[in-house]
C-alpha cells in the first residue's frame, strides 16, 4: 500500500512518515506489549490532501482494504451488522501538538451498530452504548462543523435536564444533538460507517491548518509543511463496565523523580475524561487493589518501555473488562529536581554512566531545581492534586470568595479557592498569597492571571468543589479559614503548613555536582550551574 501502514512490529517507517504517536505504538508492538489493532495513514497523504483539497487517489481503496483487515483481526464489522467494530481516528504529527488537532472516538457506531453494541453488553445497562454513540457525535460534530463542545453541552443539558444518568433522556439528547448537527451541516449525520471514516480522515487532515494549530506551530517553531498522520485503531472501551477504565502512568514520579510509578486512573471512563480534567481521578496505585492483573501488566509495560528508552517513560492506557491496552508511549521528559534525581538514580542502577547522567541534566533543570517545593510525602497527606500553574510553595487560610479574601488578608496570608476565576475575582487574587481553581488548564484565565501577579497557583483540581463558605476536596470539608499549603510546581494541595525542600538540601543534586567536579577536575567552591557547565564542557571536549 502506498498511503497506509499497519501498526505492526515490522513497520519500518520513520516518525516523519507515520508521525510520533504511531511510531511509539509500533515500538510498543515490537516490545510485545498490547496495542489495539489498527493502521496509520501517512503524513504524505495529508500533504496531498492539503495541496489538492481532496483525499489522494487510491486512498479510498486502501482504506477499504485496511478496514477489511481490521475487521478480520477483530472479528467485528465496522458499522455492523453483527458484532460492531468501532474505531478511534486520531491525529499524530512528527512533533507532538497536544490538543491542537481533531480526534474522533467510537466512529462506526451507526444507529444499528449502537443497538448491536447495547445487546452485546453483559450488564443490562444500556447507557454504555448510548454514551459511546453520544461521544462519537461530539467528536464528529466538532471535527466536521463549527459547533463547539460547549454548544453541544447546552443541547445535552437541555434535553437531559442536567441528568444524563437516565437512558431515555440520554436517547433524547442523542436525537437533539443529531438534529443540531444536521441543521449546522445542512445534511444529516451519515449512517454509513465508511463515509463516516472518509469524512473523519479528511477532518483530521484539515485540522492541521486550523488557526489554533498554526499558532501552536509558530510558537513552538514546528515547520508548517509536515502534515499529520491519522491513526485508526479498534476502540477499547474504558467505560464498558466496572472492570474497565483508563489512565496515564509515568514509570517514576515526575514531580520528584522518585522511582515509584506515578499517575492517575479513572474507573468506568474513556481516556478523554482523564486528559480533559472533567472527572475526578484516583491515584494510579488504586489499580493494584481493584485490578491486580491490569496493575501487574502495566508495571511490566512501564519496565519494558523504560528499559528500551533507558529513560523514564509515560504511557496512556485503557483497560476493558480487566484487559490492559496501551494507547500512547513517550519518554517522560522530566525537568528540574526530578531530572536530577532521575539521572543520578539511573546512573546508580547502572542503566547509564555518570557522564551521561551529567549530560542529561541541563542548566535549565538546575534553575528549576532551585524552586521551593513541598517535601515529598510519597503521596500521603496530599489533599488534592491539580496542575501547577505558577511555581512556588505558599501557605494560607482558605477563602472562597474575593470579598472573603480581602477581609481575611488583613490578618495573614490567604489562599483563594474558586471553581474557576472570573474578572470579579481579580481583587481577591490581588490580595491572596496563592490561588487554587477546580477547573482550567495551564493556559486558563486563572493560570495567566496568577503568573501575571507571580502568585503560586494550582489549577484544574478535579473533584474540588466550592459551596458557600466551604471547600470539599479529597473527601474532606474545609471551612473558610482552614490553613492549607499549595505547591505551584507539582500541583499539590496539603493541609497545614508546608515542609519545604530547596536545592541546597537536595542530596541527589549534591551527588551530581560531585560527579561534575570529578569530570572537570575543579573542586573550588562555585555556583551549581558553573560546576555543571564545566563538566559539560569537559565531556564535550573528551566524550
Amino acid at each position: 500500500m502506498r498511503w497506509i501502514h499497519p501498526l505492526s512490529p515490522d513497520t519500518g517507517e520513520t516518525a516523519d512518515v507515520i508521525g510520533g504517536k504511531a511510531y511509539g505504538l509500533v515500538l510498543l508492538r515490537r516490545l510485545g506489549l498490547p496495542v489495539p489493532p489498527g493502521f496509520v495513514i501517512g503524513t504524505d497523504a495529508c500533504r496531498a490532501f492539503l495541496r489538492d483539497g481532496r483525499l489522494p487517489d487510491g486512498l479510498d481503496d486502501e482504506l477499504a482494504v485496511a478496514v477489511a483487515a481490521l475487521e478480520e483481526t477483530t472479528d467485528r464489522r465496522l458499522g455492523g451488522p453483527g458484532r460492531p467494530l468501532a474505531v478511534s481516528v486520531r491525529s499524530g504529527a512528527r512533533e507532538s501538538m497536544p490538543g491542537m488537532m481533531t480526534t474522533i472516538l467510537n466512529l462506526g457506531l451507526t444507529a444499528a451498530a449502537t443497538a448491536a453494541l447495547e445487546t452485546e453488553t453483559e450488564t443490562d445497562d444500556t447507557r454504555f452504548a448510548l454514551d459511546a454513540r453520544l461521544r462519537f457525535l461530539y467528536g464528529f460534530a466538532t471535527a466536521t462543523t463549527d459547533l463547539t463542545a460547549e454548544a453541544l453541552d447546552a443541547v445535552v443539558n437541555e434535553a437531559t435536564g442536567h441528568d444524563p444518568g437516565d437512558a431515555r433522556r440520554l436517547s433524547r439528547a442523542i436525537h437533539e444533538v443529531e438534529a443540531a448537527i444536521g441543521r449546522r451541516a445542512g445534511r444529516p449525520v451519515p449512517d454509513d460507517a465508511a463515509e463516516q471514516l472518509r469524512l473523519a480522515v479528511a477532518a483530521v487532515f484539515s485540522s492541521w491548518d486550523t488557526p489554533r494549530a498554526t499558532t501552536y506551530r509558530e510558537l513552538h517553531a514546528i515547520p508548517h509543511d509536515l502534515g499529520t498522520a491519522v491513526i485508526v485503531q479498534a476502540m477499547v472501551f474504558g467505560n464498558r463496565d466496572d472492570r474497565s477504565g483508563t489512565g496515564v502512568a509515568f514509570s517514576r514520579d515526575p514531580n520528584t523523580g522518585e522511582p515509584v510509578p506515578f499517575g492517575e486512573v479513572l474507573f468506568g471512563r474513556q481516556g478523554e475524561d482523564v486528559v480533559s480534567g472533567r472527572s475526578s481521578t484516583l491515584p494510579l496505585r488504586d489499580l493494584a487493589d481493584r485490578e491486580p492483573e491490569v496493575w501487574t501488566a502495566l508495571l511490566d509495560a512501564l519496565d519494558r518501555v523504560e528499559a528500551h528508552h533507558r529513560d523514564t517513560c509515560y504511557l496512556e492506557f485503557t483497560f476493558e473488562a480487566g484487559e490492559l491496552w496501551l494507547l500512547q508511549a513517550r519518554p517522560g521528559r522530566f525537568t528540574g529536581a526530578a531530572a536530577v534525581r532521575l539521572a543520578t538514580d539511573l546512573a546508580d542502577e547502572g542503566v547509564i554512566g555518570r557522564h551521561e547522567a551529567l549530560l542529561r541534566v541541563s542548566p535549565h533543570d538546575l534553575r528549576h531545581a532551585r524552586t521551593r517545593r513541598l517535601a515529598a510525602t510519597g503521596g500521603a497527606g496530599v489533599l488534592a492534586r491539580g496542575l501547577g500553574a505558577c511555581p512556588g510553595v505558599v501557605a494560607g487560610r482558605v477563602a472562597t470568595t474575593a470579598d472573603g479574601a480581602v477581609r481575611m488578608a488583613a490578618e495573614g496570608p490567604v489562599i483563594l479557592v474558586r471553581p474557576e476565576t472570573s474578572p470579579l475575582d481579580m481583587r481577591g487574587i490581588a490580595v491572596a498569597a496563592g490561588i487554587v481553581t477546580a477547573r482550567g488548564g495551564p493556559a486558563s484565565h486563572a493560570a495567566i492571571v496568577a503568573r501575571t501577579m507571580g502568585k503560586p497557583a494550582v489549577v484544574g483540581v478535579a473533584g474540588l468543589t466550592v459551596t458557600g463558605a466551604s471547600v470539599r476536596a479529597g473527601g474532606q470539608v474545609l471551612p473558610e479559614g482552614t490553613l492549607i499549603s499549595i505547591d505551584g510546581t507539582g500541583g499539590e494541595v496539603v493541609l497545614g503548613s508546608p515542609s519545604v525542600t530547596t536545592a541546597a538540601t537536595d542530596p541527589h543534586l549534591l551527588r551530581l555536582l560531585e560527579w561534575a567536579d570529578e569530570v572537570s577536575g575543579d573542586t573550588s567552591g562555585r555556583p551549581a550551574d558553573q560546576r555543571l557547565h564545566a563538566a559539560h564542557a569537559a565531556l564535550r571536549r573528551h566524550p
Partner: protein
C-alpha cells in the same frame, strides 16, 4: 432593528459587573466616559443601593447584590428589546472558537518551551516575542469580525474593539505589559469580554 446606545448609568453598572471591583479611572476607561461623568453615575447608583465605595489601599467601587440583580435584569431587557439574542449568541460561539487560541498565545507570552521544558519567558529574545505578537495580531484580525458583529447587535460592545486595538498597539510598540500584565492588557480586556458575553446571555460560569 437598530439598537439604541446603552445609557450611561447602565454602562457604568455593567462595567462593574464585567470588570469587577475597581477604581474610578478604570470605570472611565472601560466605559469610555470621562471620569467626572463616570463618578456622577457611580454616585447616583450608590444612592440607589446598587454600588458601594470602599475606602483604603484596596479601595474602589463594587456592585452590591441588588446592583448585580439590577444589572442582570436591565442587560437582559436591553438584549431582548434590541432583538439581539441570536446575533450575540452566534458571536459568542465564534468567540469560543478563538478563546483557546488567545489563551495559548498569552500562555506562550509568559512561558516558553526550551528543549522540551517550559521556562519563564524573560523577554530577552526579541525574535520569540515577535512570533508571539505576530500570532496575537493575526488572532486580533479574526476577533475584529466577532467584535463587529457584536457592536452591530448592541453598540455598547464597540468599546471592546477600541480597548483591544489599543492594547495590541501598545504591545506592538514595545510596551510588553499590554499583552497579559497591565489592567488594560489584551488578556484583561478579553477576559472582561468573555464575562460580558456570559452575563449578557445569562450563562452561568
Amino acid at each position: 432593528m437598530t439598537a439604541s446606545p446603552t445609557g450611561d448609568d447602565l454602562l457604568v453598572l455593567h462595567a462593574l459587573r464585567c470588570a469587577g471591583f475597581t477604581d474610578l479611572a478604570r470605570v472611565a476607561a472601560v466605559t469610555g466616559l470621562g471620569e467626572s461623568d463616570a463618578e456622577s453615575e457611580l454616585i447616583t447608583l450608590a444612592t440607589a443601593g446598587h454600588v458601594t465605595y470602599t475606602a483604603g489601599v484596596f479601595g474602589g467601587w463594587g456592585l452590591t447584590e441588588a446592583g448585580r440583580a439590577a444589572d442582570a435584569r436591565r442587560i437582559t431587557e436591553e438584549l431582548e428589546a434590541a432583538g439581539a439574542r441570536t446575533a450575540v449568541a452566534g458571536a459568542y460561539e465564534r468567540f469560543l472558537v478563538l478563546n483557546p487560541e488567545l489563551l495559548d498565545i498569552c500562555g506562550a507570552w509568559q512561558l516558553r518551551p526550551v528543549g522540551g521544558a517550559t521556562t519563564v519567558n524573560d523577554h530577552t529574545d526579541p525574535a520569540y516575542d515577535a512570533r508571539v505578537l505576530g500570532r496575537l495580531a493575526d488572532l486580533d484580525r479574526r476577533a475584529q469580525a466577532v467584535c463587529a458583529d457584536l457592536s452591530a447587535a448592541l453598540p455598547r460592545f464597540g468599546r471592546y474593539r477600541i480597548r483591544l486595538a489599543d492594547a495590541l498597539a501598545r504591545a506592538a510598540s514595545g510596551d510588553l505589559d499590554y499583552v497579559t500584565d497591565d489592567m488594560a492588557s489584551y488578556h484583561t480586556v478579553w477576559f472582561q469580554l468573555h464575562e460580558d458575553l456570559l452575563a449578557t446571555l445569562g450563562i452561568p460560569r
